[in-house]
Symmetry: C2
Subunit: 198 residues, 2 copies
DNA sequence: GTCTATAGTCGGATAGAC
DNA sequence: GTCTATCCGACTATAGAC
């Protein structure tokens, strides 16, 4: 009986710890999270946590790297950018604004990575390398393949477009400004389209 | 001799504590900062800190509110937006990109406020109310007073422009992506100008 | 009004039983 | 391989001396 014997055991234990740790780190941040709470949330003892991960920092780094890869990839990558510019732009913007803005875990992940980026520069750069840069490159490539848009510097414009969308999520949702300075999602999208096409 | 008697005492003690606390909170975050270190950095005892501020949370909130008002106001407010659109835009963009990108304290402040925005929503909203919203309104008003720019929704476009600039600082400096995905500041500015004017 | 000293709690990490 | 029990340092906050 050294092999898995119940449904719960059949999930890898490190996965179980991982699942428990996500909620704690996302809610409390790195320094605010205790290994006691992580162990309790994962349903294992603290010693078990330390048998799978070297220390708190190791757990945190492994966790964020994995979240970045598996959970928070989604905006690009689920579909490729193809078709009419206006359609592609509206679909991209709508997806980014809607999906992220309503995903509390994604918002908490943004807070966590930005907040810890000074103390964990490796993690921030991993995010740049695996999510931000590929996203910019994909949109930039799309712009470059559509000369009718008359965009001189496609990468710079891609950064502006994504920046406009991310800043909207940042101010409205992350910093919770939507009641103080409300704006309809569609006004932003219409203006983005007008700047690029109209 | 109940009045100030040395140069050091002539500075208000709460100001002294404030100055010591800034560095600690900016570097370590809220949970990572200890009141022992704050007291040491301020050059007073811990009991003195607690006589001026109710507790750690009270000190933190007072501190961030004050930093937002006094230190990190600068981008707008130092000059009003007047003159030719291209000149105004380039000056605004250059100032925001140069000044903030090189100001390590400002970058740390951005990390802190974003990172704690989930646990301290009041502070995040104070920042929205006192810095973000006024900035957007000012640029929006400028656009509205220049119909030759043919901007249908001046506030939405203001958000896109500022978003493009803030996102640049966020990716290059805050998340430290400038070596991974470098881009000249002027390429972004030229493309912004081209989108709005060219 | 400001200090030193300390109470009381909780943190990360580990030893040893099973 | 996982648990319980524990070490010990650091934390927030305060009491009491001066």
């Amino acid at each position: 009986m050294t092999q898995p014997n119940t449904r719960k055991d059949s999930i890898d234990k490190s996965e179980q710890i991982f699942q428990g740790a996500i909620g704690e780190f996302l809610e409390k941040g790195y320094a605010g999270t205790s290994m006691d709470k992580v162990a309790a949330a994962a349903g294992v003892s603290k010693a078990t946590v330390y048998s799978y991960f070297q220390d708190k920092e190791g757990l945190f780094k492994a966790l964020v790297a994995r979240m970045a890869r598996e959970r928070f990839y989604l905006v690009f990558g689920t579909e490729s950018l193809q078709g009419e510019p206006e359609v592609v732009l509206r679909r991209l913007a709508t997806k980014l604004l809607d999906r992220i803005a309503r995903d509390r875990e994604y918002l908490a992940f943004m807070r966590l990575v930005v907040g810890e980026s000074g103390r964990f520069p490796d993690l921030a750069q991993e995010l740049i390398r695996n999510i931000v840069h590929p996203g910019i490159k994909e949109l930039s490539g799309y712009f470059a393949s559509h000369p009718e848009l008359k965009i001189a510097d496609s990468e710079a414009v891609a950064r502006i477009v994504i920046g406009g969308l991310v800043y909207f999520v940042l101010t409205q949702e992350v910093l919770q400004g939507k009641e103080i300075m409300p704006m309809e999602r569609d006004r932003l999208i219409d203006s983005l389209v007008a700047l690029l096409i109209g």
